[in-house]
C-alpha cells in the first residue's frame, strides 16, 4: 500500500557498495569467559566493515558534540540530571511505591518481577489470558536482558520487532550490537542480502530507502493484525504514574496504540520523581545519543487508551543488588543513550557483538560483570581507560573509574587468568626491589621481559603482532647516564653503589 520513493541522491545498486561478508564473531560457549580480544580481531579482519563502523559511530559522537556545544547550560544539565538520579536512587523505594499507586489509580495493572525469567512468565500469563498469538514490540534493552524474544519463541508466541534496526537483527538471528542503532555493524549490502532472503526484496538493490521501504511494507500488515503491543520505557514518572518512550520511527506509538493490549517492561531504575524532571532528561537524551535535539517521537503514557488495557512490569534483574554496591551503584543512573559507546575508541574498532553480552561498549564493561562476573571478567580490560565515556555521559556516571574499579574487584575475587595474576605478582616483586629492578632492565631484552606493561603472561609476542619494539638506547639507561654525568666524583648513594 505504500509508495516507496527512493531518494535520487542515494546510490542504487552502487558498484562501490561492499560485498565483503559480514563478520560474525564467535560466541563464547556457556560457562566460558567472553574473549573480547579474539572477537574484536575477527571484526577487524573485515576491514571494510570495520572502517565503516568506526566512521559511522564516530559521526554520532561528532553530531553529539555539535549539539552539546550549542547549549550554554549543557554541563549544568548533566549535573542536574546526575543529581536528580542520585536523589531518586537514594529514595527509590518510596518513588516506586508512589509510581505504583498512581499507575494503579490511572487504571494500569502493575506487576513486579525479580528477574528476567519472572518477567517473561508474567508477560506470558497476560498474553495467555488474552489469547495473544502475535505481538508488535518496540526496542527494549531490558527485554534483551530478559531473553524475552527467545522465551516467547519457545512458547509459540510471535514477536515482531517494529524498530527497523531491531527488526534487521531479529531477522538475522543476531543480538543488537548497539543500544540505539542495533545493526550499526552491518553495511547495506548485508541488509540487502538479508531482506532478499527473508522479505523477498531485490538482492541487487542495496539502497537504504528501498530497503527501509521493503521492511515498512512487510511489517505494516503484521502491525494491523497484532493482538498485543509491547514497549519498554525510557523514564517512569512517580508523580503521574506514567512512563515515557522515545523513538524516531513512531513504532512504539504504533505498538502501544494499534492493539488494545499494551504491556510495558520497565526497569526499576527508570524512575524520576516529577514531570518537570523530564525537561532535563529529554533535552539530554537524543542530543547525547544521535546528536539530534530530540527523538522524532517522545510519548508519555499515563493511562490505558479508551477501551484498552495496559500493564506495567517493573523489573529488578540485578538492579537492587547493584544499588547496594558501593563503587557501582551510580551505574543505575544510565539512561541508555549510547553516547559512551559512540565515543569509545575500542567499541568503534571492535564492534558491539565482540562484547558477547546484552550491553556493549563502556556501559557493558560496567554492567555485564554485575550479571555474571566470571563470564564477563575480560570485559573491564577491553578499555584504555581514556575517560571520554565519563565526559560524554549525560548523567555523569564515572564510567572509566568504574571500569578501573571492576578490575580490582575481579582480581580480588579470583577472576583474573592465573598466568596474568602470576606475572603481575612477579612484576610487583621485581619493581619493589631497586636491585632486582636494575638487574631486570640491564638490557632491552631483559627489560622487555620484566617490565610487565608490554610483556604479559602467555602472549609474549602480543606487542610485536602489530608494532615494532622500542630500539635500545645507545648509551644505556637514564640511571647510567645520571651516574656518569651528575654523580662523578660525588659519593654515590643507593642500592647500586657497590
Amino acid at each position: 500500500m505504500s509508495t516507496n520513493q527512493p531518494d535520487p541522491a542515494a546510490t542504487i545498486q552502487s558498484k562501490t557498495a561492499t560485498r565483503e561478508p559480514q563478520p560474525r564473531p564467535a560466541k563464547a560457549p556457556d560457562g566460558k569467559r567472553v574473549d573480547h580480544a579474539r572477537s574484536a580481531k575477527q571484526f577487524l579482519n573485515a576491514p571494510e566493515h570495520a572502517k565503516s563502523h568506526d566512521t559511522r559511530v564516530w559521526a554520532m559522537r561528532t553530531k553529539r558534540d555539535k549539539q552539546a556545544h550549542t547549549i550554554e547550560e549543557w554541563e549544568e544539565l548533566r549535573e542536574l540530571a546526575s543529581q536528580i538520579k542520585t536523589h531518586t536512587l537514594t529514595n527509590l523505594g518510596s518513588y516506586l511505591e508512589e509510581f505504583e499507586a498512581n499507575a494503579k489509580a490511572n487504571g494500569i495493572h502493575v506487576h513486579w518481577a525479580r528477574d528476567g525469567a519472572e518477567h517473561n512468565r508474567i508477560v506470558h500469563d497476560i498474553f495467555d489470558n488474552h489469547g495473544v498469538k502475535s505481538v508488535i514490540k518496540s526496542k527494549s534493552m531490558l527485554m534483551e536482558e530478559c531473553g524475552f524474544r527467545h522465551y516467547m519463541d519457545s512458547v509459540g508466541i510471535e514477536i515482531i520487532e517494529t524498530d527497523l534496526g531491531e527488526r534487521i537483527q531479529q531477522l538475522d538471528g543476531e543480538d543488537p550490537s548497539h543500544i540505539v542503532v542495533p545493526p550499526v555493524h552491518k553495511m547495506r549490502s548485508d541488509v540487502a542480502r538479508l531482506f532478499a532472503e527473508k522479505l523477498g526484496s531485490d538482492p541487487d538493490n542495496d539502497d537504504a530507502h528501498y530497503l527501509a521501504g521493503a521492511q515498512r511494507d512487510a511489517t505494516r500488515p503484521l502491525i494491523l493484525d497484532a493482538d498485543a503491543g509491547m514497549t519498554g520505557a525510557n523514564f517512569a514518572v512517580a508523580e503521574t504514574g506514567g512512563f515515557v518512550v522515545c523513538t524516531n520511527e513512531g513504532n512504539a506509538d504504533l505498538s502501544a496504540n494499534v492493539p488494545n493490549l499494551h504491556v510495558a517492561s520497565i526497569g526499576i531504575e527508570k524512575l524520576v520523581p516529577k514531570v518537570e524532571d523530564m525537561g532535563v532528561f529529554i533535552r539530554l537524551l537524543s542530543r547525547s545519543a544521535l546528536g539530534s535535539p530530540i527523538t522524532q517521537y517522545t510519548s508519555h503514557f499515563r493511562a490505558p487508551k479508551q477501551g484498552g488495557e495496559m500493564h506495567i512490569v517493573l523489573v529488578d534483574n540485578g538492579r537492587s543488588k547493584r544499588l547496594g554496591m558501593d563503587k557501582f551503584w551510580s551505574s543505575l543512573k544510565c539512561i541508555r543513550c549510547g553516547a559512551c559507546m559512540n565515543t569509545c575508541p575500542v567499541y568503534r574498532r571492535s564492534g558491539g557483538l565482540s562484547y558477547g553480552a546484552t550491553y556493549a561498549g563502556p556501559l557493558g564493561l560496567i554492567l555485564n560483570p554485575s550479571f555474571d562476573a566470571h563470564r564477563y571478567s575480560n570485559l573491564p580490560f577491553a578499555s584504555t581507560l581514556n575517560g571520554s565515556c565519563t565526559n560524554v555521559c549525560p548523567v555523569k556516571i564515572n564510567i572509566h573509574e568504574q571500569i578501573f574499579g571492576w578490575r580490582q574487584v575481579l582480581a580480588e575475587d579470583g577472576h583474573l587468568p592465573w598466568t596474568k595474576k602470576t606475572a603481575l605478582s612477579a612484576a610487583g616483586k621485581v619493581l619493589a626491589s631497586p636491585k632486582g629492578y636494575r638487574a631486570a632492565i640491564k638490557t632491552t631484552n631483559s627489560a622487555l621481559k620484566h617490565l610487565p606493561r608490554w610483556a604479559l603472561y602467555n602472549r609474549m609476542n602480543a606487542w610485536g603482532e602489530g608494532r615494532e619494539m622500542p630500539t635500545p638506547p645507545e648509551h644505556g639507561t637514564f640511571h647510567d647516564w645520571y651516574k656518569r654525568n651528575r654523580l662523578s666524583g660525588q659519593t654515590k648513594t643507593g642500592s647500586d653503589s657497590r
Binding site: V191, N251, M278, L290, Q306
Partner: protein, 207 residues
C-alpha cells in the same frame, strides 16, 4: 514474600546511605525571543532541521489549498483520490475520525489532519493528547500528517513544555518532531520508517 516486597526490601537494605535532595530545575529560556513572531520563526527553523515542513498559507489561501500545495507531489496518486481524515473544523477532508473507530480501520488514510495542543520552539516539536488525536493511532498509521498549530501556543523550550499541566491530565501526550525517521541502514537518513512519511505544520490560530 511477593516479588514486590522482595524488591522493595532489597532496595531499602542496599540503597546508598546519603542525603541527596532533589535539585531545583531552572527554565533556561532567557535567551529565547520575547515576541511571537520571532519565536514562531525559531520554531519553523527547528522544525525544518528535523525534517518537518512549515507551510504558512499565502495571503488569501485557504487551508485546503495550503494542504494540497504541501502534499500533492508526495502522495504517489492524484490529490483528489487521497483519503484525508480530518478532525479539525478548518479542513473538511473526506473521512471522519471517530472515537470508537477501530484503529486498524485507519490503515488506508493518506493524510491525517489534526490540531496540536502546543508547540516547542527549541526542538520544533508539536504536542498532542488523546483529545486532539481522537484515535491515537491515526497519527502513525496515516501516510502523511498535517498539523494546525496556533502560534500563540508555542512555548520556548522543553522545560516550559513540561511545566504545562497536560501531562498530569491526559492519558497520552506525545511530541512529534518531524516525520518518522531512521538511519539504521548504514547511517542513511530515511523518512517514513514505520510512521508518517511527512509532517507538515500549518500555522492557524485556534477558533
Amino acid at each position: 514474600m511477593s516479588a514486590r516486597d522482595d524488591i522493595l526490601g532489597a532496595i531499602r537494605a542496599g540503597k546508598p546511605a546519603m542525603n541527596a535532595p532533589a535539585p531545583a530545575v531552572p527554565s533556561y529560556d532567557d535567551g529565547y525571543p520575547q515576541d511571537r513572531e520571532h519565536l514562531t520563526a525559531l520554531f519553523a527553523e527547528r522544525l525544518t532541521t528535523m525534517g518537518g515542513i512549515w507551510q504558512a498559507p499565502t495571503d488569501g489561501q485557504n487551508l485546503d489549498d495550503a494542504l494540497q500545495e504541501a502534499l500533492a507531489d508526495k502522495l504517489g496518486k492524484p490529490f483528489k483520490d487521497a483519503v484525508i481524515a480530518s478532525n479539525v473544523s478548518e479542513v473538511a477532508g473526506n473521512r471522519g475520525i471517530n472515537e470508537n473507530d477501530d484503529p486498524t480501520t485507519l490503515h488506508d488514510v493518506d493524510i491525517a489532519v489534526l490540531r496540536a495542543t502546543f508547540g516547542v520552539a527549541e526542538t520544533g516539536s508539536v504536542a498532542f493528547t488523546e483529545k486532539e488525536l481522537t484515535v491515537n493511532a491515526v497519527a502513525y498509521l496515516a501516510q502523511h500528517l498535517v498539523v494546525l498549530l496556533d502560534p500563540a501556543e508555542i512555548v520556548t523550550n522543553l522545560h516550559r513544555a513540561y511545566q504545562r499541566d497536560d501531562f498530569a491530565g491526559a492519558r497520552y501526550t506525545v511530541f512529534h518532531t518531524g516525520p518518522s525517521a531512521t538511519a539504521d541502514i548504514e547511517g542513511v537518513l530515511v523518512r517514513g520508517a514505520q510512521g508518517v512519511r511527512s509532517l507538515t505544520i500549518i500555522p492557524a490560530s485556534g477558533s
